[in-house]
């Protein structure tokens, strides 16, 4: 059992949470974006995580394999003065709820901190073991 394997698993968790934070920041920055390159308003992005199994030991690290679009469509806001309004005066805006994103952000932060705690605990185990026979 190698300590560096443990640290690799934790590192993969930390990287995945960083990517989730990136998607959350992208969503929050683009809350009111009505124009993208494809002509549609910005679609909410979701990071997809996948477990990377170590078959022998049945343990897994994690990897963010993709950042997918949320398929639930856009919301319509009535604003005839907006340059992107359609004939009835409605503007298509991204379907991003600030409260959802903030809750996701808090979960991501706690998960990051929990992974760092695991790292500290493993390191203190290792250092204590090095003191055997001192």
């Amino acid at each position: 059992m190698n300590i560096f394997n443990t640290m690799k698993i934790t590192a993969s968790g930390l990287s995945a949470e960083r990517i989730r934070m990136d998607t959350i920041s992208s969503n929050l920055a683009n809350m009111e974006t009505t124009r993208t390159e494809s002509g549609e308003p910005y679609t909410r992005k979701i990071a997809v995580f996948k477990a990377e199994y170590d078959k022998k030991r049945n343990l897994a690290g994690v990897k963010a394999i993709a950042i997918k679009d949320d398929d639930s469509g856009h919301r319509l806001e009535y604003d005839p003065t907006h340059p992107d309004a359609n004939e009835e005066g409605y503007v298509k805006k991204p379907n991003i709820n600030v409260l959802n994103e903030m809750a996701d952000m808090m979960v991501s932060v706690r998960s990051y901190e929990a992974n760092i705690n695991v790292l500290d605990a493993t390191k203190s185990m290792y250092t204590k073991a090095l003191e055997i026979g001192k």
């Binding site: 640290m7 934790t10 590192a11 790292l119 090095l130 026979g133």
Partner: protein, 96 residues
């Protein structure tokens, strides 16, 4: 040659030779190899730090974890050296 109806196999005289030829690395080589691995860990930590400071694609936790790995490997090497020194001291104290 028969001894009490038991014919020894001539192979038993070759076992010692076989063991020596299989272990091709001496203690010195193993030591150098492991010290090189240790040095590689230090260099990797260095290069990751450099990459991070230049604004590359590395995350801060990768830099920190590489630094920790290098530090822990060095501490393990120091402890191994301590144990070896203790052993040598013991052997030196054997009275003839």
């Amino acid at each position: 040659m028969k001894i009490n109806f038991f014919t020894p196999n001539a192979e038993i005289f070759n076992i010692g030779n076989k063991v020596e030829s299989n272990s091709s690395s001496s203690f010195g080589e193993i030591l150098t190899e492991k010290l090189n691995e240790l040095n590689n860990k230090q260099l990797e930590a260095d290069s990751l730090t450099q990459d991070f400071l230049e604004g590359g694609d590395t995350d801060i936790h990768e830099v920190m974890i590489a630094g920790e790995e290098a530090k822990l490997s060095l501490q393990l090497a120091i402890q191994v050296r301590n144990k070896i020194l203790e052993g040598i001291k013991e052997i030196n104290q054997i009275q003839i």
